[in-house]
């Protein structure tokens, strides 16, 4: 009996010490980790919306891998787009965090909606947003929508996240004004199988969404549906002949593909419904352009 008590005491002691060590490290590193995460998100938002500074544009123009690519046939154009996405991410990564923050501050406005506080709405300029301490930006509970104003139509970036095959997959999806056509997509956090599900990070997978202007709505309807289906074509990403709201899955990564198929529409549906609830808000009306406001009215019913 005494042995048992000794053992249990030892275990208790071990667990308490372990918990203390973990807590200590967690507290010490939390700020740094949050900052790193924040910078990563900013980079990916810029990538999804294709925001480029003169330095980045210059780097892309001089990029050796991109320069030598032919763009005459459809396949070549697709491969060029895939390479462009990868190189854009690479060159954005080469810039300093301050450079990226400034790029963000100059081009993007942010709408924050807090469902837990009766859908309180806050509108930030890019500058205000990057200056918020990282703890104040609560991606877990608040909804953030990022907008870039462009003369030929605004772009809106939404967060998309859901359970993948192993762990949570997080990314951004950029839609054009009217919330139908996809302008950009990127994934910044996932733990999918390397070589399989991890290929959602690759250029070819993301290029399918952008080069053929895929849509998030079922054709001829207003129902949100984005399908990730089995490959039919000759090469990875040959989804031009598929339906406008359908893209190629990753061969061998059916679960990851199915997860995307499920959670991207779910995320958009949830976000549009919440937006529908706050359409009357003055900040929201300043944020969204008239076409988009019109489309969102159906969600406020």
């Amino acid at each position: 009996m005494r042995n048992y008590i000794n053992m249990i005491c030892f275990l208790l002691l071990l667990s308490i010490i372990s918990a203390i060590i973990l807590t200590a490290f967690n507290v010490q590193t939390k700020d740094l980790i949050d900052l790193n995460r924040q910078q990563e998100r900013i980079l990916h938002i810029l990538k999804a919306m294709r925001v480029m500074s003169p330095e980045v544009e210059q780097a892309l123009k001089q990029d050796r891998e991109l320069q030598n690519m032919a763009v005459s046939t459809e396949i070549e154009q697709f491969q060029h787009e895939a390479k462009l996405l990868e190189r854009l991410q690479h060159h954005l990564k080469q810039q300093t965090p301050e450079h990226l923050s400034k790029l963000f501050a100059d081009n993007i406005t942010v709408l924050e909606i807090n469902p837990r506080e009766n859908y309180a709405v806050v509108l930030y300029t890019g500058k205000e947003f990057v200056e918020l301490p990282s703890q104040a930006i609560d991606y877990m509970h608040n909804l953030y929508i990022f907008k870039m104003h462009r003369p030929d139509g605004d772009l809106y970036t939404f967060e998309i996240a859901g359970a993948g095959f192993w762990d949570k997959v997080s990314g951004y999806l950029t839609l054009r004004s009217g919330l139908r056509k996809i302008s950009g997509i990127t994934f910044f956090d996932h733990k999918e199988t390397p070589g399989l599900g991890q290929r959602i990070e690759e250029g070819w997978f993301q290029a399918q969404f952008t080069i053929w202007q895929k849509e998030v709505l079922k054709p001829n309807t207003n129902k949100i549906a984005l399908h990730v289906t089995r490959r039919n074509g000759l090469y990875d990403g040959d989804s031009q002949k598929k339906s406008i709201n359908e893209v190629d899955a990753i061969t061998g990564a059916s679960e990851t593909s199915r997860a995307l198929d499920k959670f991207i529409p779910e995320n958009l549906d949830r976000t549009f419904r919440i937006l529908g609830k706050v359409l009357g808000n003055e900040s929201v009306q300043k944020f969204l352009d008239p076409d988009t406001l019109e489309i969102l009215k159906q969600y406020s019913l």
Binding site: M7, F10, N26, L32, I33, E40, T193, G195
Partner: protein, 206 residues
Amino acid sequence: MQILSAENAKVFSENIWKENPIFRQILGICSCLAVTNLVFNTMIMCAGLIFATVMSNLLVSALRNYIAGRIRMIAQVVLIAVSVTVVDLLLKAFLYDVSKQLGAYVGLIITNCIVMGRAEVFAMKNSPWPSFWDGLGAGIGYSIVLLIIAIPREILGFGTLMGYPIMSQDWISWNIMIMPPGAFFMLGILIWIVNSTGKKVGHDEK
């Protein structure tokens, strides 16, 4: 005391071939499968594993006189989990990009049977310095096997090696080699080859 006494050298080198963790003890298979479809990822995982095995062996060995018999498994797991989590947190804070590479493998490393196996079999009964060499040897032995499996898998599955295309443009990749069953087949074939050379795999399970 020279840096590597004869006994420690023996402990180290035995773990690489004669007592190789995969062949001899059939440990650490789970992680073997998902990771080995790309050589680069395999190297990252192996680096993490060597580090974790060495650190866990050192910790368990240092505390071995305080851990009672029955609860040794729990104590080992807790020590391993805490040390790997701490390293993960430090990486996320200071070397964020490296942590992104390792992110998927942290869980695989903590529950890797090799880490537990070495802690149980060696570190609990030996002092820290030999345990260090044991852990290093086991980690390296494991890495070698993983790399031997990863190379054909990447070449046949993707047509590349470390990202560089090796096969011609018309090569149609063997998707089976990218998926986990491919790892099983490769491991089975490897064991076949090893057994044919005379060394018995999985012989004498303690």
